[in-house]
Symmetry: C2
Subunit: 203 residues, 2 copies
């Protein structure tokens, strides 16, 4: 039998993607499930359905709820949280890096570091200097990685990965795939993990 695996699709601007990024490795490891980290951009997906901003800004009742829910959820899960003073912040550079370097063993640590900087420390993760600092703090060569991420090939790779997200039926983040089954929202992580183990019925 092949090792169970799950695809974790995340967007750096997405608050619930932060929660999922903090949860997934530990919970997947308990089930012996490998995690494939997949960064993508929600911007083009939202634009295509006529949204020029985050739905949490476009629909204020939804946004108010989400921020309160994030406070409660992070409190329950013992995750640090501070509401960012700017929302959403572009995760473009971070997404390019984590798309291009997704096979590197340090990549999950980098992803979590970016999420924490944004959602726990209110740092401007849209700024290349901040991303460089986070890379350096992981002992990596920030100059080389940022230059690689800004190459035409890297831009194309993230564009293709975002297109793949659309083709797979993604409409929000986080999304988990167990085979062809999509689960949307950090609330559904456990269901996605059960599905990857064959413990939730497939069609």
């Amino acid at each position: 039998m092949n090792k169970a695996e799950i695809e974790f699709w995340f967007e750096f601007a997405s608050p619930y993607s932060y929660v999922a990024a903090e949860r997934i490795e530990r919970e997947a490891t308990l089930g012996g499930i490998a995690v494939n980290w997949r960064s993508f951009l929600l911007g083009p997906i939202f634009s295509a359905q006529g949204w020029k901003d985050s739905p949490f800004n476009l629909y204020p009742a939804k946004g108010r709820y989400m921020w309160r829910d994030m406070e409660r959820l992070c409190d329950k899960l013992a995750l640090p949280f501070r509401r960012p003073s700017v929302f959403p912040r572009s995760g473009l550079l971070a997404a390019r890096i984590s798309c291009l370097e997704s096979a590197q063993p340090w990549c999950p640590d980098f992803v979590r570091a970016v999420f924490r900087a944004n959602f726990a420390e209110d740092r401007d993760v849209a700024a290349p200097e901040v991303i460089s600092e986070l890379l350096a703090s992981l002992g990596l060569d920030a100059a080389i990685l940022v230059a690689r991420a800004n190459s035409a090939e890297s831009k194309e790779q993230l564009r293709r990965q975002t297109e793949r997200a659309v083709q797979l039926g993604t409409f929000g983040a986080p999304a988990f795939f167990a085979g062809n089954e999509m689960f949307w929202g950090q609330d559904r992580l456990q269901d996605a993990l059960l599905c990857s183990l064959g413990l939730i019925a497939r069609p």
Copy 2:
């Protein structure tokens, strides 16, 4: 100490409200928590944010996901499910009845019967004859109840209850309230129950 309680806000056209209606009484009873059933209409709330139809119809990727998710979820929870051939179906009459009669001991049974007729039996719950049949099957006087539900007072009561939902910050269904804390989505039922018991931090 007062008995713990939870408010359950539901819309008859909402698939996930069906799941919540099937789950809530048993799970609340395990915690000794009283459930207050609150029907309301999402139509006016969606209209106010520019939606003329269900978001599951307006955003096809979201809709495709939801129907597959409902299949999986009902399978997991051993709930009967058949995708309705018409979606959404108006729950106006059923909502008026369950708003006006919310204090009656048969009301939760009626609510579940309507949800099952729509989401497990593909029956046209927008039709007064179907609602009358469901009432009669519970041993109730359908003619009297439907007449009462169509009175001006009853219409006004559901209108006011929907306005209250808006004032409380509701933007979708199902929604649960533990005191002032709102939880949105059937996925969050357990969190709402924990909150009603004081086991999730309040501000």
